[in-house]
């Protein structure tokens, strides 16, 4: 069925105008959609997490992403990856000494047992480590702050001017093999990880408590959107998630 009226030239002209209108409208709609999506992407704040937990990064990332809708969660396993990601972060969650080393201040502090610090210990086979021997032992430690930063961190924890020889590992689960292979005299870890480590091993693991405590995880915000969106989500994390992060609650 053909519409009546008009000569072919007029119809062609009208059709050309309709086509132009369609493309202009499509482009406008497209531009609007594009801007909205870009705006949405920019509004989705990014939380960068760097914590040495027994949970794999993949699992921790999925757990946090479920609990923090509208937030992009990135879990880093290495200090260098964390420092690279910081440039693009709206918020960062890490042990407070790690935040401080990157000129950040913890706006939200993690608490456990009502305190914002936790004790660290040395774990060794057979006997505890006498404090007089601290400077001469070979010590296994997680590479928490890069080679130099971790060396200083360890020296502070042991109350020494200079750190003993350190065998760095990426994950806390790699500390036990250092003892099994007798590559280290002792390993350094938070006291809360002792029970689990001992449950894995049949070695006669002995604990040497250290006097200096270390600040628990904290969250620093790098943007208003980070503070506005991420802060309430962190405060609302459930107890299971907090437990995996090594805290009871946030303040």
């Amino acid at each position: 069925m053909r519409r009546s009226g008009g000569d072919p030239a007029q119809r062609a002209a009208a059709s050309a105008i309709a086509r132009r209108r369609f493309w202009v409208t499509a482009l406008l709609v497209g531009a609007l959609l594009f801007s909205a999506l870009v705006a949405f992407a920019q509004e989705r704040p990014r939380l960068v997490v760097y914590l040495h937990t027994e949970v794999k990064s993949r699992a921790l990332e999925a757990l946090l992403a479920r609990q923090m809708p509208g937030t992009e969660v990135i879990v880093c396993g290495r200090y260098r990856d964390f420092t690279r990601e910081l440039a693009k972060a709206d918020a960062a969650m890490a042990l407070e000494p790690v935040l401080q080393a990157n000129a950040l201040t913890g706006d939200l502090k993690g608490l456990r047992g009502g305190r914002d610090t936790e004790p660290y210990v040395l774990l060794s086979i057979g006997t505890t480590i006498d404090a007089a021997r601290f400077s001469t032992i070979v010590l296994g430690a997680v590479d928490l702050l890069g080679r130099d930063g971790t060396t200083q961190f360890v020296a502070n924890l042991l109350g020494l001017e200079a750190s003993p020889e350190i065998k760095f590992v990426i994950k806390s689960e790699d500390l036990l093999p250092l003892l099994q292979f007798q590559s280290a005299d002792a390993v350094l870890l938070p006291e809360r990880e002792v029970v689990r480590t001992k449950s894995l091993s049949k070695l006669d693991l002995q604990i040497t408590p250290l006097a200096t405590r270390v600040r628990l995880p904290a969250v620093a915000f790098g943007s208003d959107v980070g503070r506005r969106v991420i802060r309430p989500l962190v405060l609302a994390l459930d107890s299971e998630t907090n437990g995996k992060l090594g805290v009871d609650t946030w303040r």
């Binding site: 594009f34 999506l37 992407a41 027994e54 260098r80 990856d81 990426i170 093999p177 292979f181 590559s183």
Partner: protein, 343 residues
Amino acid sequence: MALSSRNAVGVLLLICAVAVLTCARGPAARDVAAPVGASFEDVPTRPGVPGVLVVLPSSVHTREVWHSLRDELQATFDVVTRPVSSDTTAADLMREVHAVRPRCVVLIGNQAMNLYAQYQKQERGPYPPAVVLMASFFEQQRSRLQNTTGIAYEIPGITTFVKLRSFVYRPVQRVGVIHRPLFAGYVKEQRGLAAVEKVELVGYEVGDDPGPYQIRRALDHLSRREKVDAIWVLNDNVLLQPELIAKGWLKMLHQNPIPVVVGVGSLVDARLHFGSFAMLPDHSALGLQAANLVFKLSQEGWKAGATPVELPLSVQSVIDLPWARQRLQFREDALDRIDRIVQ
């Protein structure tokens, strides 16, 4: 026509938008490792800074090691990277050693190690100290090289068994291993190491070129007579030929399911049900461990020949989840501690 144009425009825009979102915020943006095929980019060398020559083939795993190693070393050393291919000769390597004059050489993979051994045969020393990584059974080959140390590539049984113990409810006290005479010494070493964690490693020696029947008989002996709690499969190509897997290993393991730990990720397959778990080297951690070794050598006068070969400290775990859940008393709380889940 107009309708289909609109559809096409809509789809196009959606694709563009999704692409923008993905590029801006998605996982690709945080992928630290370079894609396969990208070049190894060295930082320009600095006057007076000692160099470390890294010789390696290009693969996903060598790249992971290289990234981690370079990150650790570059503040103290100039890292000079030289990829090798099947065309690279010992003469090429010799030229690089002369040109770079490295304080230390890091050799990644069998080919790089073999080239260095050939270079040492062709030229009189002294040779720069070398650290070998990702080479098969390096400890057994070390005597071919001078002034060389390294990190073994094979995951020690002790690490495997301790991990396995944390993944399943059933006890892991006796572990069976089938091996050829060539590996008898290696199994003996592993037995000593496993004893540290109160795990008894029970070996069963087969011939140099065993058939499926020998594999079935060995598995039957280990599971029925020795009553082992798990089987540890060595990375021995001869024992892992397809025919032996199909007609030997699988026939017995499917009849009598016990945890089977392999050292190759592809052997954990939810259709095959051969390896229920795999324990693989963590390549990023291996790079850090290699850097530790380079720093240790630098502090101790670069005596690589006198420095013991280290065992790899870090593993990545893979699980055949359906099989482990159905047959192996898998601990659900272990799921968060496993790197890759096959289902």
